[in-house]
Symmetry: C2
Subunit: 296 residues, 2 copies
DNA sequence: GACATCCATAACCTCAGGTTATAGATACAG
DNA sequence: CTGTATCTATAACCTGAGGTTATGGATGTC
């Protein structure tokens, strides 16, 4: 009997949740799709994996046996994909790094140059990460590392090296009344609508609306964006204001956007992020070593 | 990225064969289906796994990395299924055993009774195996063991315990001219058409047409059958004759079939067969122990 | 007893995994 | 040098799988 790892992920999530409806939400499929898939897995294995009740789904003995065994299957496949990726990097001599916004600002190119000195013939391919899911390419193995700003989703599952920290400022439409002032305090902004990342970004989004500096008050959301271009456009249109690292004034200078110094919010830290795994592929280890020499 | 183990088996077979057309034959799919699936795997992994030429398919570096890693994935899934099956046997207290024809003849029931003494509350569920692929249920894990006659396909991949050996006779239509004789020599049968198993059964089929006793001459095939009922019908109809264990006269007695003693062919051995694996689930180990006490 | 929440089924839709037919490329033999 | 054989790739087509929405049945709680 063959099986798709998708089906095993479905099973694992149902086992963890104990409830089809919640598991379906986590998996971004409808509940009937999930119930059908779980039933199909049971039919093909020829045994019940769950008992069903009003309280949800409880694992049977065989279900527990499968729940114990599934991580090994999924980990083996993850390992296989990583082995393929490492071999492909070796063959093509390309390290893939995803990034958000301005990556590591002015440190980006020196890091890459340092790496190329350590690995003649190699190059670094930079790829834009999705704001809604900045670690997707890391998780899937499409990239080897990423320049991300702390915090990011599932941060404890990855290793990271802080490269630089810079203050955060506020970005607003050039014609915004507050744009007349050279400097602002965060307290001045509590009632302003914000351009924010999607809810799904969790702590990442909280960080960029400075949720911890609001004394429990909810942020007013003027627009939700997932890409820097959309983010800039929404700001320029006056849909809302946004916190930004001060380097944004350099990397995203536009006549219709004003950046103003800001007190009262935590600074922003850029880190190089990579999967927690031992041993690391040698080229990735070299890239990390190069980054370390340029870290603050 | 998710993957189906079917796709990994396709990849592995192509890697082994180095040729899509031959791999497609082994996998019982068409060559265009296989080329499409391999291409899809490459697209999803984002790298070439094979180089193509007139000589066929050669693995690339990433392809070799995947070829090295795939057994771990497939073995992990096999292990998961076995764990589920063992848990299910434990929960239901049922041992599943497949068999061909008359299983272990008169030894079958004493073995089962002995096992039930060792494991009160347990029972044995007997399931007919396919003649064309007698080990399918063993391979898939649907059964825990099987009563099979030696030789059987992929025999070296399984453990076995010979239970009994009996002479082979010849079965023929009751009206067959040779039915007048009480006893025959195999040399008398060389020109007779035979009722045979499918070619795919390999050594199993060779055994039952006594290929090794024919001095290199091909057998004349009067009919190909995959089930005992079809086999008996073909013999009774005079489509051909067949070698049979002498117990067939007891278990498959019919007025329209004559069984005659035969000299000049090897006897037939029934064995209990189970997967080579350590450790064995305790219930299966008990069944094997029970069978051992009843072996010749 | 009404409502909320759980899983299951029905009906439907789109696309994936297979087929056959055939094309293009290339190596080899005559 | 040409024809043939054999390799992989593509096109067109078909059936069934994996998803959806709508809804049903069961059950627990207030």
């Amino acid at each position: 009997m063959d099986v798709d790892t998708r089906l095993l992920r479905y099973f694992r999530t149902v086992a963890e949740e104990g409830n089809l409806s919640r598991a379906a939400e986590r998996l971004f499929v409808s509940q009937p799709a999930l119930t059908k898939q779980i039933r199909q897995l049971e039919d093909r294995l020829g045994t019940r994996l769950f008992t069903r009740s009003k309280h949800g789904m409880a694992l049977t003995g065989p279900g527990e046996a499968l729940a114990a065994a599934v991580p090994a299957v999924l980990d083996a496949w993850d390992g296989a994909r990583r082995a393929v990726r490492a071999a492909e990097a070796e063959a093509s001599q390309v390290l893939r790094v995803s990034f958000l916004a301005s990556a590591a600002n002015e440190k980006t190119q020196p890091i890459i140059a340092d790496f190329r000195e350590r690995r003649p013939g190699w190059r670094v391919e930079l790829r834009q990460a999705s704001w809604g899911d900045p670690i997707a390419a890391l998780v899937s193995g499409e990239v080897d590392a990423a320049f991300l700003r702390l915090p990011f989703p599932r941060q404890d599952e990855f290793a990271s090296l802080a490269l630089l920290t810079e203050p955060r400022c506020v970005a607003m439409a050039a014609g915004h009344p507050l744009a007349r002032r050279e400097s602002l305090r965060f307290a001045d902004l509590l009632d302003e609508p914000f351009v924010a990342a999607p809810d799904a970004a969790g702590a990442f989004r909280d960080h960029w609306v400075a949720a911890d500096a609001r004394g429990g008050r909810e942020v007013r959301v003027g627009a939700v964006t997932e890409h820097p271009d959309d983010w800039l456009t929404a700001i320029a249109n006056g849909d809302g204001i946004a916190l930004a690292p001060v380097s944004a004034a350099r990397y995203y200078a536009r006549p219709d956007i004003a950046y103003r110094d800001l007190d009262g919010v935590e600074p922003s830290t850029v880190a190089l992020v990579w999967p927690k795994r031992h041993p690391l592929p040698a080229p990735l280890a070299d890239f990390i070593a190069a980054a370390r020499t340029h870290a603050d």
